[in-house]
């Protein structure tokens, strides 16, 4: 391989203008690919992070109540007028066992039972409708990182303490230490002490959520010992779908992954990924075509030298390698420059851009881009290299 790479490098250096031009082309292409891929994946992980900051990966609820329709005897026509049933607040049966089963599933990181239902929050003459969320705090924190969202006060539920969203606190004029009366109807009332105020960054949650102890919520909502929701966090967020399906199969409960409940987001993400892939693919194709045409010209220009080399005992496969190596070297060098340029663009974006989000720099992206460009270079060199290796030395030497 020594002589093949020596000849390849000399040929590249000797045709310097051509080599530099195509290197520049490769570098621009790779920089575009690196930057676009980094930008889109940064944007996507930011979106996913934000979405999953306020919701669990999988939400498990009791199955919905549906009408059972008695089958009609054969030979009769059945006319149906169905009145959909109201969905009352229903606990999950045997939730402790369900929790234990789910906890043992592979890929499950945390399981948090929750009881939640509607109530009114009163302070003085002000009334707001609130979502009462009873939690086991230690477990809940492993699903929703409330500690990151606390504005004032402390993380505490139980012993008459609770936490409220910031918007709700503003609407009802609450501070830490204030009393909030909760009314869940049918005379079930309680007064809690506001221990902390949080801000999740989603208006709907911040103006409605009231976190209390699991037991207190159970008694307020008349669901003693029951829970209405089990929140699950998984290791791989994109495996949530599969895990949810598994849970449905195991428990017969209704389990919805974040991907299903955010179908629109997922759709947007996959469209983005597709357009990124399309851009990358077509840029890569045009870069490869550039390499192929430069090498084709080089083979034509060096026809006579190829003939001489063959006459001097250079084998066909050596000749093939000379041009494959040229393609690989062009791809590798060009993509190295391109990766650095793309990296600079990312750094520039992080520093001078709109600063809405930070692009995470993944070293694997650069390695992958360079490996791909090198392979593409060799692929592009295949046809010219093949032509060089099949050249008849007699014809080639006679070539003027």
């Amino acid at each position: 391989m020594w002589i093949e790479s020596t000849i390849a490098l000399r040929f590249l250096r000797h045709g310097r203008a051509q080599s530099l031009l195509i290197l520049f082309g490769i570098a621009v292409g790779v920089a575009v690919i690196v930057f676009v891929v980094a930008l889109i994946s940064g944007l996507q992980s930011n979106l996913i992070e934000r979405t999953l900051g306020t919701q669990s990966h999988i939400r498990i609820e009791a199955p919905r109540e549906v009408n059972r329709i008695a089958p009609a005897p054969p030979g009769t026509v059945q006319l149906l007028l169905e009145d959909p049933r109201p969905q009352s607040l229903r606990p999950i049966d045997n939730w402790q066992q369900v929790r234990d089963v789910i906890e043992r599933l592979p890929g499950v990181k945390a399981v948090s039972p929750v009881v939640s239902g509607p109530a009114f929050g009163r302070r003085g003459a002000a009334v707001e409708s609130v979502a009462l969320v009873g939690i086991d705090l230690a477990r809940y924190l492993r699903v929703i990182p409330l500690q990151d969202n606390l504005v004032t006060g402390r993380l505490e539920v139980g012993s008459g303490n609770g936490m409220v969203g910031r918007q709700l606190a503003e609407d009802l004029g609450l501070r830490t230490g204030s009393k909030l009366r909760l009314d869940a109807g049918d005379g079930r009332e309680a007064v809690i002490n506001v221990a902390g105020i949080f801000e999740l960054g989603v208006r709907e949650l911040d103006e409605r959520y009231v976190y209390v102890d699991l037991k207190q919520a159970q008694s307020l909502l008349a669901l003693p010992g029951g829970v209405t929701v089990i929140d699950v966090t998984v290791e791989d967020v994109f495996a949530a779908d599969a895990t949810a399906a598994r849970i449905r199969g195991l428990t017969g409960l209704q389990a919805e992954s974040w991907m299903e409940s955010n179908a629109q987001l997922m759709n947007a993400l996959s469209s983005q990924s597709m357009s990124t892939n399309m851009i990358s693919f077509f840029v890569a194709v045009s870069v490869a075509l550039g390499i192929a045409s430069v090498l084709a010209v080089s083979v034509a220009q060096r026809t006579r030298e190829i003939g001489i080399l063959r006459a001097m005992g250079t084998r066909r496969r050596q000749m093939l390698r000379v041009f494959l190596i040229q393609g690989a070297v062009l791809g590798l060098l060009g993509s190295a420059v391109g990766a650095v340029a793309g990296w600079s663009l990312v750094v520039a974006f992080n520093t001078f851009g709109p600063r809405l989000f930070e692009i995470d720099l993944q070293p694997m992206l650069f390695v992958a881009a360079m490996a791909l460009a090198t392979l593409a270079g060799m692929g592009a060199a295949l046809v010219p290299a093949w032509r060089a290796s099949r050249m008849d030395p007699v014809e080639a030497i006679r070539h003027a």
Partner: protein
């Protein structure tokens, strides 16, 4: 002087083109020829007589249609391209009319090329040999020059040094002086003679120039694809 031995033997060598097509044409009609290690022979003949074709066959650049070609005693007709290429690299040195150096390499590297192609990075011994050959053609000072920094005569001398670096048993020269002025041509010819005597490698020169042909030990006239006579000059050993 080295011991005399057979380098090349042709037996009924034929070459046709466009085989199986209406315009099939046989260029060489059964050539018998033998060259020994001390031979310095000129292949002469009018253009179109098949000189270049014969030279390509002898140089293993092109396979014959029929007949056999022995190089250093080895039959070659049945060989595939790979084997012929390897044999060519080891046993044959080429000097072409248009010097044909590789422009991306220096004079010294060009001289080393046949060895590098066969054995990779040259060792100290090979480097010495290449330098010595460059010195023998009077170009030791130009070792690091590129071909485009050398005159035509200098380039042809580099090409001769290159042809000899693998110590081939046969040196083929296709109109080696065709592109040079008379004085330079005579110098180049003198070099070929020197190497023939020094290394005992057979030299076969294709030439148009009757004066140059006269200085050879043997003249092999080729007319219409046949060797008409094989004359050994009076001054031949």
């Amino acid at each position: 002087m080295p011991e005399l031995k057979e380098v090349l033997r042709l037996e009924g060598l034929r070459k046709s083109y466009n085989i199986g097509q209406p315009n099939e044409v046989e260029v060489l009609h059964g050539i018998d020829l033998r060259l020994d290690s001390a031979d310095f022979a000129a292949l002469v003949g009018p253009s179109g007589s098949g000189k270049s074709t014969l030279l390509n066959l002898i140089g293993l650049l092109d396979p014959p249609t029929a007949g056999e070609l022995y190089l250093d005693g080895q039959p070659t007709r049945a060989m595939d391209d790979e084997a012929r290429t390897a044999l060519r690299g080891r046993h044959i040195g080429f000097v072409f009319q248009f010097h044909h150096l590789i422009s991306a390499f220096t004079a010294l590297e060009n001289v080393l090329m046949p060895s590098m192609v066969a054995h990779g990075k040259p060792g100290a011994e090979m480097l010495d040999r290449a330098r010595e050959l460059l010195a023998a053609v009077g170009l030791e000072k130009f070792a690091d020059r590129r071909p485009d920094q050398l005159s035509g005569g200098q380039q042809q001398r580099v090409a001769i040094a290159r042809a000899l670096v693998t110590r081939p048993s046969l040196l083929l020269a296709d109109e080696p002086t065709g592109n040079l002025d008379t004085r330079t041509a005579a110098e180049v010819f003198k070099l070929l003679r020197q190497f023939n005597a020094r290394f005992g490698c057979a030299v076969l020169v294709v030439t148009h120039d009757p004066r140059l042909a006269e200085t050879c030990d043997r003249t092999i006239p080729l007319v219409d694809g046949q060797v008409v006579s094989d004359e050994r000059a009076a001054h031949a050993p």
